[in-house]
């Protein structure tokens, strides 16, 4: 209150200076004054009242009609004052919420962390970036006892915090499967039951699951309604689409997931994506699949992690650095 009092005299002082000099410098001071009052949470109705009080002192014989008009103006400003105060409170709350979400996002990162296994024969690169703070995409690597690589990429329909919860469940389900359940059709079948039993209606997950046999270089894969993925064939310099039939996780209890396989030869690489990449918008149109692949091909000679990184950067820039959807890119390259 005392600071407000000192401001009132300050306001009167500034106003009288201005009425005498009409000086721009005083107007500048008025601007500074308003910033100060905002910092002190002084609402607009109080400023109007300050003006009225100051005028009464500066112009002792002020017309009654003018005085009454100030009563009218103050009355009009009261609701603005309230809206202003409410805005302040909501802003503080927003900061609080944001920091809470920040903590949750960190926790999600820790919970969902997956180690990229180290191989000499294949080179793995990943880039996964959430559009908002919480990531609705998920990827996971498992190395079985024989050393084969299991890889999952998933996308929850829906974003933010509910999606993040759902992902934790999927991760722990994936990790609970034993080593003799490593084939994609098995994994998706088991996961589907878990998701179906535990997830609310209207929440679905798409997943592409692959098993890379590190000895024979066979890649087995199944898909639960996920985006098609791709294999780059070095001999033809073309991409081959890999996709398999299967319903999204959590829709029905009994689903048969088709499992397919393909041979990865030296110089080939597998690209697993989420729809944040393939449904990337450019202005008002979606990117064509071929355009996406052309971009990926640009970086084909780089190590996997650089391919993923560069492809991400490319699409980030295309979307003006404002991602509309979570983006995940996984590249698995056969070296030798």
């Amino acid at each position: 209150m005392s600071s407000l009092k000192s401001d009132i005299s300050n306001y009167k002082e500034l106003l009288s200076q201005y009425l005498e000099s009409r000086d721009e410098a005083v107007l500048y001071q008025a601007e500074q004054f308003s910033k100060q009052t905002i910092q002190q949470n002084i609402s607009p109705d109080e400023i109007v009242n300050e003006h009225y009080q100051a005028l009464q002192e500066l112009i002792p014989n002020m017309d009654e009609t003018v005085k009454d008009s100030f009563q009218f103006l103050i009355e009009t400003m009261i609701s603005y004052g309230l809206a202003y105060q409410e805005h302040q409170v909501l802003r503080e709350k927003q900061i609080e919420l944001r920091s809470e979400i920040g903590v949750a996002a960190n926790m999600q990162e820790t919970l969902l962390k997956t180690q990229i296994p180290d191989y000499t024969t294949i080179d793995i690169g990943v880039k996964s970036v959430p559009a908002k703070e919480m990531n609705g995409d998920y990827h996971h690597f498992i190395r079985d006892t024989q050393g084969n690589l299991g890889v999952a990429v998933a996308d929850v329909i829906g974003k933010g915090i509910p999606a993040a919860f759902c992902m934790s469940m999927i991760k722990f389900a994936l990790e609970s499967f034993s080593d003799n359940q490593i084939y994609p059709e098995w994994v998706l079948d088991s996961l589907n039951r878990v998701v179906f039993r535990n997830l609310e209606e209207g929440m679905f997950v798409t997943m592409f699951y692959g098993l890379y046999d590190i000895y024979t270089h066979q890649f087995y894969y199944s898909s639960a309604g996920h985006e098609p993925c791709f294999v780059y064939r070095s001999d033809s310099d073309e991409f081959e689409k890999i996709d398999a039939k299967g319903l999204l996780l959590g829709v029905e209890n009994d689903v048969i997931y088709e499992q397919r396989q393909t041979t990865i030869t030296k110089g080939d690489y597998i690209v697993l994506l989420t729809d944040g990449v393939t449904e990337c918008r450019m202005g008002d149109r979606f990117l064509k699949q071929q355009e996406v692949l052309d971009v990926i091909k640009l970086y084909a000679d780089l190590p996997s992690s650089d391919i993923a990184e560069n492809v991400f950067k490319h699409f980030e820039r295309l979307q003006d650095f404002d991602l509309r959807d979570d983006i995940t890119i996984i590249v698995i390259k056969r070296n030798e």
């Binding site: 100030f70 103050i74 009355e75 009261i78 609701s79 309230l82 809206a83 409410e86």
Partner: protein, 134 residues
């Protein structure tokens, strides 16, 4: 010591103006300045509008209250409407203003010095006090 000064029945929108008038008169008598007068009348409007919109029928009562070396206006808004089921949610910021309905009860609370609300199936009673600085 409390003294009922007047009360205004709220049945139609026009009655809100009557309640404002009655409240302003008391506020002037008690020596409230321009801004406080405007705050008190805005709070009265808000309370009366709530009665008019949600309970259809109710009453605003004005009392003069005395504290230690201070005097104030007490406004009681009571109705026999359906009541407010979750008071804590209507007391949250952003509940009513976001829909452009006005300051809402949190606004009334800000405008006044003291605020109390009781509500059940048989109606709602909001009691507020504004102290005049003496």
């Amino acid at each position: 010591m409390e003294k009922t000064l007047s009360s205004v029945i709220i049945k139609k929108e026009w009655d809100i103006v009557g309640a404002r008038q009655a409240g302003r008169k008391i506020a002037i008598d008690l020596g409230f300045g321009s801004v406080d007068q405007a705050r008190i009348t805005t709070a009265i409007s808000e309370l009366a509008r709530n009665i008019y919109l949600y309970a259809k029928h109710g009453e605003i009562t004005f009392e003069k209250v005395y504290g230690v070396r201070k005097v104030g206006i007490k406004i009681i808004a009571s109705d026999r409407g359906p009541g407010i089921r979750e008071i804590s949610s209507v007391m949250k910021d952003g509940y009513s203003t976001s829909g452009g309905l006005g300051a809402g009860l949190p606004g009334v609370k800000r405008l006044m010095d003291e605020f109390d609300i009781q509500s059940d199936d048989h109606g709602t009673k909001v009691t507020v006090i504004k102290w005049a600085r003496q």
